[in-house]
């Protein structure tokens, strides 16, 4: 709450608690804006291929990729691989949440402990999860455990650091207000610290999810018998660039959908944030 007194006049005033819902037209416009560039690329790509300007083996045309997609989707292979990948992400991400949230809260609330843990954690933060893959395979075997460990590792830091930051940056002026009403320690946490940290926690979860999705595919490329990463690897071994591209596109699409779901959840649970969200920061700026 900064001095909002200066913009007395500029602020639009609505009487309902909810910020205005987007109209159909707004949704369609947004959809069109988002799809315009990919559509142009696909059309151009297809035209260039049909004119023989592109090497069909190195860059298979969109229509061929689409055919391949329909085949693997039709025989259930794609679903099996997506299922395997998503299962790993769900397990790993939940585990990461269980570790990162409490630790983030704790260190946010106890600056004294922070001094002991921060340097060590910063050290580990600098190591990309992918660098651990061989060691994790050595320790945990080539099966699920090592892949889930990699996901936990990559999701942990963004969630943990953003939670920590959210708690530690709780406005001391609001804490003071709570203090004048004589809130208990638990009341202060549940009614001031947690809600104040929630937007930051959400950012951490979104980043964590996208990080773990990326490193999962890397883990699957190195050694797996199913999963999207394996699908790409299979495309390579069978010299099917269209299959590799199917895998790549599916990775992007699923990542996009997961992020979309999280953003909807954020809107639902943090309705008061809607105003902030309209000034949407492009995601590549946050990460």
């Amino acid at each position: 709450m900064k001095a909002s007194a200066n913009n007395e006049q500029e602020k639009p005033i609505t009487l309902t608690g909810a910020f205005d819902k987007p109209t159909y037209k707004q949704i369609l416009t947004k959809l069109f804006q988002g799809l315009a560039i990919p559509l142009c690329i696909f059309v151009l790509w297809e035209i260039l291929s049909s004119m023989g300007w592109l090497n069909l083996y190195l860059v298979p045309p969109p229509s061929q990729i689409w055919d391949r997609l329909l085949t693997v989707a039709g025989n259930g292979l794609l679903l099996k691989h997506i299922g395997a990948s998503l299962y790993r992400v769900v397990c790993g991400f939940s585990l990461a949440l269980c570790l990162a949230l409490p630790l983030g809260f704790l260190l946010g609330l106890l600056p004294g402990v922070r001094g002991f843990l921060s340097p060590t954690l910063s050290f580990f933060q600098q190591i990309p999860a992918i660098a651990w893959i061989p060691m994790f395979i050595l320790w945990l075997g080539i099966d699920e455990a090592s892949k889930i460990a990699i996901i936990v590792y990559s999701a942990f830091f963004p969630i943990f650091l953003n939670t920590l930051h959210g708690i530690a940056s709780t406005d001391s002026k609001l804490k003071e207000v709570a203090y004048t009403y004589g809130l208990s320690r638990w009341g202060l946490m549940s009614r001031v610290y947690f809600p104040s940290a929630a937007p930051s926690v959400f950012i951490g979860m979104r980043l964590g999810l996208s990080y773990c999705w990326r490193s999962l595919v890397a883990a699957e490329l190195l050694g797996a018998s199913k999963g999207i990463g394996y699908l790409i690897q299979e495309g390579r071994e069978m010299a099917q660039p269209d299959l590799m591209l199917v895998g790549v596109l599916v990775i992007g699409l699923i990542g996009l959908s997961l992020d979309f779901v999280f953003r909807r959840l954020e809107k639902k649970f943090l309705p008061w944030q809607a105003k902030v969200d309209t000034k949407e920061v492009p995601k590549w700026q946050i990460s």
């Binding site: 007194a5 008061w272 105003k275």
Partner: protein, 247 residues
């Protein structure tokens, strides 16, 4: 009238790099129940520090504060603090903000009724379900006043509550605050650096002086409400106040 709040020989130091600095020196005054006091002074005279000590947000080095004869040393619901900024919780609606201090004390239904009533009093009933970010500065400060009133405090402590508002909004809120005080008869200690505001509001004006913060004068202001600071009756008083600002 019996003394309701007694401020006795309060002294306060602040520790800065070069050692302790005296912020308040031997502050003494009494407040009667239902009285509206203005603490007036230039910046750094310790008026906000004194208010924060009364609120229990700062600790004094010596002296004590007696409320109904009882010494107080922490914050409590019988003292309602209103800050210079509204300090509303951005994740709560206006109504939930008003009920913040009494949540758990009453049932959900009653909480809502109290919230509605108070928002009615401060003229915000239409904005019960709005988010704080949707309010203007003046409206947010009204909501903050409603929140302080919700706990039904014996004393309202106001730390330059209208200082950050534009002139028109400030005048409007001063008027509304006066009628609120007249209808509730809460004891109020109102900190301000604005001579006109002190003239319009205070029954007594306590003038403070900096380095170290101390009371320079306690000036009774017996004129009837509503007051206009440009009234010729005020000329002498205004001059006296302005002179007391000088070293």
């Amino acid at each position: 009238m019996a003394n309701f709040l007694e401020i006795e020989t309060i002294t306060k130091y602040f520790n800065i790099a070069n050692g302790p600095v005296k912020a308040l020196e031997n502050i003494n005054f009494e407040v009667a129940s239902g009285e509206l006091i203005c603490l007036l002074g230039p910046s750094e005279c310790g008026k906000t520090t004194l208010l924060r000590i009364i609120a229990g947000l700062e600790k004094q080095e010596s002296g004590q504060i007696l409320l109904n004869g009882q010494a107080i040393d922490a914050s409590g619901p019988e003292r309602g603090m209103i800050f210079q900024e509204p300090r509303l919780f951005p994740w709560l609606t206006v109504e939930e903000n008003v009920g913040f201090g009494i949540k758990g004390r009453y049932g959900k239904k009653l909480l809502q009724t109290i919230g509605q009533e108070l928002l009615e009093i401060v003229g915000l009933s239409e904005f019960a379900k709005a988010w704080p970010s949707q309010l203007s500065g003046g409206m947010a400060q009204r909501a903050a006043i409603a929140r302080a009133l919700a706990a039904d405090p014996l004393i309202l402590l106001l730390d330059e509550p209208f200082a950050a508002l534009d002139a028109q909004t400030r005048t409007k809120l001063q008027t509304d605050f006066l009628s609120l005080w007249q209808s509730t008869h809460k004891t109020c200690i109102h900190v301000t650096h604005d001579i006109d505001e002190a003239l319009i509001l205070g029954q007594r004006i306590i003038v403070m002086h900096p380095s170290p913060g101390r009371i320079k004068k306690i000036i009774p202001n017996p004129f009837p409400y509503p007051r206009c600071p440009d009234d010729p009756d005020f000329i002498t008083l205004k001059k006296e106040l302005r002179d007391s600002f000088l070293p």
